[in-house]
């Protein structure tokens, strides 16, 4: 392999590691949102809990696409919009489930994809 190819492979592998780290953080964020929703006891989280819920959705919306997971960005955007339009706890739960699935699918895709060869 020439230098340029080697460098590109190294860069791809580096990005793959970043994607893994992102997915790890996204799994954790989704869990936190689920906990916030559960703690709100049948209504949408409010006050500090609500702000935190919105912030987690907002950040996943902003970063998912950058890590090449557009579905995470889209589903997180839907969740943030649902929160901002004062949707019911049930609607938020459904939106969060879609986000959770997007994160899970992304993790599985990442795990099944072959790693780049770096000499």
């Amino acid at each position: 392999m020439d230098d340029a190819t080697n460098k590109a492979a190294e860069r791809n592998e580096c990005f793959r590691q970043l994607q893994k780290m992102f997915i790890g953080a996204a799994v954790s964020d989704v869990s936190e949102m689920a906990a916030l929703l559960a703690a709100a006891d049948g209504v949408a989280p409010a006050g500090d809990a609500g702000a935190r819920f919105r912030k987690l959705a907002h950040d996943l919306r902003g970063t998912g696409g950058g890590y090449e997971f557009p579905t995470i960005s889209d589903t997180a955007a839907n969740l943030e919009a649902a929160y901002l339009t004062e949707s019911s706890a049930e609607a938020l739960k459904q939106s969060l489930a879609l986000l959770s699935k997007a994160v899970d699918d992304a993790r599985q895709d990442l795990d099944s994809a072959p790693a780049s060869t770096v000499e």
Binding site: R11, C14, F15, L18, M21, F22, A25, A26, H58, D59, R61, G62, T63, G64, G65, G66, Y67, P70, S73
Partner: protein, 461 residues
């Protein structure tokens, strides 16, 4: 050296992504999780660019933008946010952001945007540095003179410069009123704006109104295009109205209205055009007396003479004529390609004793003429105009060599000593920055280096 980019975003997940894309462009990313943290970092780091999120805990990105613009104007800011509202984009750009990216963003687009921003920042810094360089030698440093009379005028003008107050410069013809007006502008808050000078006495009567206020197309024969006047051209800066005493009485009324309303109407126009202009006027006439007897509008006089400053005639400026002579010899010998760096004793005595009715302008002309005529390495009496020599002979009792010097000029310093002092002073004031010293003296760098060698000047920092 690796250029640093400051990422201001509270989402740690973004850091790795931004680092990854910017590393490819050779940038090192430093991270601030809040506006407060960014301000702390900027106190000791100078990144090449800032990437700013709008939704931040504490101080928001919207609040940070104007602060960055005022405190660190040379660092370009790229806004990166998931808020995609067009009004917000416009508002960010108006607050000084150079680019705006939506999250989720494309890494290549981010890298290009940051590279463009840093290039723009470097250009901005370069322009500012060149502008500062150009502005050197425009302020009060350009007024050469150590006499109490001129120093008093400079002190007054310095006080007036900072405000927008109207200044009326008085003094005989040739005392340097335009140089003084330019210095006031250069040291005022309007220094980045235009300086527009107009000689009210030198413009033909039929044109002065249009020159001052502009005209609309077809407003008079020959007005084939609309044209802005001096007031519009000076918007945001200073207008210098020289020989204001010569302004026609009907135009005095119009000028008074401009000063009162801060707006003008072009000749043949109906629209009021707002102008933000500082007025510095000058006259060599006794305008106050003329106003008192109705030869100049009294109300206009008091509008113009809010801060009157009198520039002294050269004959009242002690030994300033010699300092000016030294500066003019340096300037003109370089301009005319002559190696002249001295003044013969007779020429020196003649220049000292002459009364200079035409003031600094006359002295400047006399020295330039002498430089052109002179074949030797110092200015001899023969190169001076007859009236200067005649006057010296009369004052000196018929013999220029045996003339008794006036009491105030008893201490005769050699021309070389004075030249040496002028150059040394300029170098000390500029901390031996030869380029800056040469700019301030209006000389080439090579001349300064030659003089440093000739006089054996040593760095005294």
């Amino acid at each position: 050296m690796t250029e640093k980019v400051l990422l201001v975003d509270d989402d740690p997940k973004l850091l790795g992504l931004v680092q990854h894309h910017l590393a490819e462009e050779g940038f090192e990313t430093i991270w601030a999780a809040s506006g407060e943290e960014a301000i702390d970092i900027l106190a000791h780091e100078k990144p090449a660019a800032i990437i700013l999120d709008l939704l931040l805990p504490g101080i928001s990105g919207f609040e940070l933008l104007p602060r960055f613009e005022s405190e660190w104007p040379q660092i370009p800011v790229v806004v990166l946010t998931a808020q995609g509202d067009l009004n917000k984009v416009v508002s960010c750009m108006q607050s000084g952001a150079v680019d705006y990216l939506h999250k989720p963003f494309d890494g290549t687009r981010l890298a290009i945007s940051v590279r463009n921003a840093t290039n723009q920042g470097q250009l901005k810094a370069k322009v500012e540095s060149l502008t500062t360089e150009l502005r050197r030698g425009e302020g009060f440093d350009t007024i050469i003179g150590e006499s109490a009379a001129v120093q008093k005028s400079i002190t007054l003008m310095r006080r007036a410069a900072d405000s927008d107050i109207a200044v009326l410069l008085g003094g005989e013809s040739g005392t340097g009123k335009e140089v003084a007006a330019r210095a006031i502008h250069a040291e005022s808050g309007r220094r980045t704006g235009p300086f527009v000078a107009i000689n009210c006495g030198a413009i033909p009567e039929g044109l002065i109104e249009s020159e001052l206020f502009g005209h609309e197309k077809g407003s008079f024969t020959g007005a084939i295009h609309s044209r802005s006047g001096c007031f519009e051209q000076a918007d945001g800066g200073t207008i210098f109205l020289d020989e204001i005493g010569d302004l026609r009485s009907d135009l005095q009324v119009r000028l008074l209205r401009v000063l009162q309303d801060h707006s003008i109407q072009r000749v043949g126009g109906e629209k009021e055009i707002k102008v933000d202009v500082r007025v510095v006027a000058a006259t060599n006439r006794e305008l106050k007396s003329e106003a008192a007897i109705g030869e100049f509008r009294e109300d206009l006089y008091y509008r113009l003479a809010v801060f009157p400053v009198e520039l002294p005639p050269l004959r009242d400026r002690d030994t300033d004529a010699l300092l000016l002579t030294a500066a003019f010899i340096l300037r003109f010998s370089e301009r005319h390609g002559k190696i002249i760096d001295g003044l013969a004793p007779e020429a020196r005595r003649a220049l000292q004793s002459y009364s200079w009715p035409g003031n600094v302008r006359e002295l400047e002309n006399v020295i330039e003429r002498a430089i052109v005529l002179e074949d030797g390495t110092s200015i001899s009496a023969e190169s001076l105009p007859l009236e200067v020599l005649e006057h010296a002979r009369q004052v000196g009792g018929g013999d220029i060599d045996t003339r008794t010097t006036p009491a105030s000029r008893e201490e005769i310093v050699s021309f070389e000593d004075e030249e040496r002092q002028i150059i040394l002073r300029a170098l000390e004031l500029t901390q031996w920055n030869v380029q800056e010293a040469s700019n301030r003296l209006g000389l080439g760098r090579a001349t300064i280096y030659r003089k440093i060698e000739r006089y054996g000047l040593k760095v005294t920092l």
